[in-house]
Amino acid sequence: MIKQERSVNRDKPQKLYIQLLDIIRERIEAGEWPVGSQIPIEEELCRVYGVSKATVRFAVLELVRKGYLKRQQGKGTFVCKRVIPEGLTMSSSFKELMLEHGIAYTTILLAQTVLMPIDDLDVKLEIPENTHVIYIKRLRSVEGEPAVIQESFIPHHICPSLLKEDVVENSLFELFENKYDITITGVRDFIEVAYSSAGESKLLGLPKDSPVLLLEQHFYSGESQIMYMRSVKRPERFRLSIDFKKKE
């Protein structure tokens, strides 16, 4: 049972998921939910704090991003030791984070279609669950060898015409900025080592469960997230180099 001392306040202008996030974070920081412990299941959090499942999922995912929690498939969500330092607010240009900068690619289009969000995609894209999403999947090769599987998810209402665009020859960023006048003002990147699925292994020509570099990127235009991109890369092809500058 969760001991409820603080609750969300619907009269506050602050979003509910941010209020819930603060409550959970305080419990973790106070040691009430220690490192390694499992946090209550979604339904329990909904019941105790009187919020929807979506609010709980947004708050939990954000805490996962911030390094407070870790989700384990089929087991639950656990408090983890934070490895992400806070307080260093840096800025860098997008191209430096793309990893592909300066490398000549050939691209094969695997899919350019529409789907509804499943799993955590609605939370990742910060959209309602019943939103149509444009799905673009490309395989990029370097010197004839498959190197990156890139899946891009764009809420359909952001740029409906993207469905008909040539995304083999054109980069999505250039299309957004130069053709549709959608300026990308921020990117949040998450990089981790993962293991390739059967499908990914086949496309990349790797044995199943091979270590791969997983890059997840969230692209923003102002307050709106316009795209979530998931790239699975052969690790030996990439060396990550990012230059940071302290914000003025």
Binding site: T113, M116, K137, H156, L163
Partner: protein, 173 residues
């Protein structure tokens, strides 16, 4: 006069319906049906999902009946050799209970392409609505895709709008 109306006059938008690619599982489609229709208490006619390929070509539609058929345990399906009388459903409730937890849950992992109603019939925007009505009645369909130049998917026409139009004309005459 209903006869002068064409498909484009009654056509509804493609994005009025949820979209999925053919590789989604029945389980994932059920989740989408629940989110898009059941949880919103909106019950559009027909309650269907559109199924597309990688190039956004329409492959078929997936309705509640298709999903239930896809979940059905194999032994409940009639075969030509052991065809039972349509009214003979003795023991069905007993048979359904246990297998629903086992074989049906396994069936929920099948791709929707195996259970959807494939798109075999379509109409053009300039076709009369009576043509759409004919195709729907004779092929047991509640929804027809509207294709321009036999290729470009521009909308859908539903039984409910056709019925409304034709029945209004009948009552007026």
């Amino acid at each position: 006069m209903a006869g002068t109306k064409t498909v484009k006059d009654l056509m509804v938008g493609v994005f009025d319906f949820p979209h999925i690619p053919y590789w989604f599982t029945i389980r994932q489609a059920i989740g989408i049906i629940r989110v898009s229709f059941l949880s919103t208490k909106k019950y559009p006619q027909p309650m269907a999902i559109l199924v597309f390929d990688e190039k956004y070509n329409l492959l078929g539609t997936l309705g509640l009946k298709d999903i239930l058929r896809g979940l059905e345990p194999r032994f409940l399906r009639p075969t030509t050799k052991a065809q039972v009388h349509a009214e003979d459903e003795s023991g069905l409730s007993v048979l359904w209970d246990t297998p629903f937890d086992t074989e049906s849950k396994k069936n929920a992992e099948r791709p929707v392409s195996e259970v959807m109603t494939s798109t075999k019939f379509f109409v053009k925007p300039e076709d009369p609505i009576t043509k759409a009505a004919y195709l729907m009645v004779h092929n047991d369909l509640a929804l027809l895709p509207v294709l321009e130049d036999k290729k470009k998917f521009v909308g859908l026409i539903r039984m409910i709008e056709i019925f409304d139009e034709l029945s209004t004309a009948i009552l007026a005459e």
